[in-house]
């Protein structure tokens, strides 16, 4: 079992009382699965993703990632987990504007203390895999949105993570580039990567084998949302 969430709660204090963003979420994800988490905005899906991605820790409940409990991990350990086990893809790409595609892709390797020569080699390889071998030395503002997102996916995959975590990856793209990005996810999943995708678009969600619906911080049946 790659991911095991048991009775996860996440509360945010606000004005003296606390808001329960996640309530008793339990979820198990096997290696190689392709899961979509769907829900309207404000339903808590991004908070859930932050917890799965080790950017945030639950207020209560147990989270095992690859058999390791995340709860007691310190800042440095969390950073190392994110670096080696999780690849992030964000809605607005988050590429650094001052770096070329190649340097953007190799950024996670910098934090894994890998030599410059090896970084360049592996980054070039990763860019090739997403079909951008000819865009290596381009800066983010010189390539299209779809290409930027593919660069971001190459960056997410460069450390061979156990888990690819994508938050509305097509939200800022036109439908053609969106489809390209989605087929990239499909092929990555076919190659064995576990994918968790968060979206509110039904046609995107339908590509996954499993769809979970979240509403008001709880998993619900699809019908409950409509």
């Amino acid at each position: 079992m790659l991911i095991e969430l048991k009775d996860i709660c996440r509360d945010f204090p606000q004005g003296g009382e606390s808001i329960h963003v996640l309530r008793n979420i339990s979820l198990s994800v096997e290696k190689g699965e392709y899961i979509t988490i769907m829900g309207p905005s404000g339903s808590g899906k991004t908070t859930l993703m932050n917890i799965i991605g080790c950017l945030d820790t639950p207020s209560s409940g147990e989270y095992l990632l690859d058999g390791e409990s995340v709860k007691g991990a310190g800042d440095n350990r969390l950073a190392d987990i994110r670096n080696s086990k999780i690849g992030f893809v964000f809605q607005s790409f988050y590429l650094l504007p001052g770096l070329t595609a190649l340097d953007n892709v190799s950024l996670p390797l910098v934090y894994a203390n890998i030599s410059k020569a090896e970084r360049r080699e592996r980054a070039a390889e990763a860019l090739e895999k997403v079909g951008l071998a000819d865009r290596m030395d381009f800066y983010p503002n010189q390539i299209s949105g779809g290409q930027q997102q593919r660069v971001a996916i190459a960056r997410a995959m460069i450390n061979d993570p156990l888990l690819l975590l994508a938050d509305e990856p097509t939200g800022a793209l036109d439908s053609a580039s969106g489809r390209q990005v989605m087929s990239l996810f499909d092929s990555l999943n076919d190659a064995g990567t576990t994918v968790i995708l968060i979206t509110h678009a039904q046609e995107i969600a339908d590509r996954a084998r499993t769809i979970r619906y979240i509403f008001d911080g709880e998993f619900v049946e699809r019908e409950a949302i409509r």
Partner: protein, 418 residues
Amino acid sequence: MLENISLAFQSIKSHKLRSFLTMLGIIIGIASIITIVSTIKGTNEQIKQSLIGSGNNAVRLRLCQDNSEYDLSWNPIPQGVVPITEDTRAELAGIEQVSDVSLYLTRQYSDGIFYGDQAFNGAVIGTDPYYFTTCGLGLRAGRLFTQEDHARCRKLCLLDMTAWSTLFAGTDPVGKTLEMQGEAFTVIGIVDSTSIFEARIETVNDYYSFNSSTGGTIYIPIETWPVLYRFDEPQHVAIRAESTDDMTSIGQKAARLLTEKQVLPTADSKLSYKGEDLMEQAEQLQQLSNSSNTQLLWIAGISLLVGGIGVMNIMLVTVTERTQEIGLKKALGARKKRILRQFLTEAGVLTGLGGLLGVAAGIVLAKSISSVLETPTAISIPAILIAVLFSMAIGIVFGLLPAVKAANLDPIAALRRE
């Protein structure tokens, strides 16, 4: 580390104007410090040179009562002080770093010397054969005293440039006769310092700090001294040191030796030989000019402090602006320390660069001030190194707060900020 430095240069380059304005405070601070230090050093060199003269390293040792010279014009020959023998001279010459030793007698203010009806009020010095080389005096016209002149107590004399111009008004003096205490002395030549031995008196301050006789000097062979004055006067000593920096230590050594040898226990305990140390005088004058300049340095230091606060301010703005970048880096697995180091390096590079520019500006400023005001400047390499390192240290100290702020950013909040 190198990675961080190149990253820092990148971010400085991407905000050229802002980076420059941030550096400006550091540039001005460092430039003013370099300018002040250069001026201080230049002034010091000037003081040293005008007092000692470059290349002339003569230390004079004189018999003193308490701290002032024992004046033989008015006083009897002191009891218990014996004339210096040739043996003692050899012993002095044996001190390490001593290249020449001369024994001489002197009257700072003499009377009874005339050329025609022109009176001379200057110094008379009775010289042994080593005097002119020891004191760095060279011949201008005529000849120096020969061994024979010394041996036969010939009544000959040499003039320095001042004595020549006051007595002869520029006409050829060689062969002319001076009346000295009723005796006839024949002028055989003119000597002049090969390098500057007597203080170069350029300002009123120089005059007060070094007001020796300005009437000029007449030199006679030491053997003829008793013709004019007395037998058995204790001599003064001039010693030439091999390097200027050794003058003080050699002077002290020689003075101790002389006092031990020449001043008998029966003598007045206030009598001793003392080195007239030009180096020491120079240092005293230097200290005087330093103390007023140290205050200037403090003021320049304040401008550096203000510059540092400017750096902190801009770094804080930078951190706020780059929140998303920081959030992303943390999401990708950058540890706190790495973010901290990145921002510290950036601040250090920014201020280090400012320091370099400040050094350049300071050198230009110092040079232009010295050419306009005609004051000397000397660029000090250690000052430059310290200035650049210090400015980098400022960057790191004042960059610490912003860097800590960056390192502690919550990645979620940082990413969410659009």
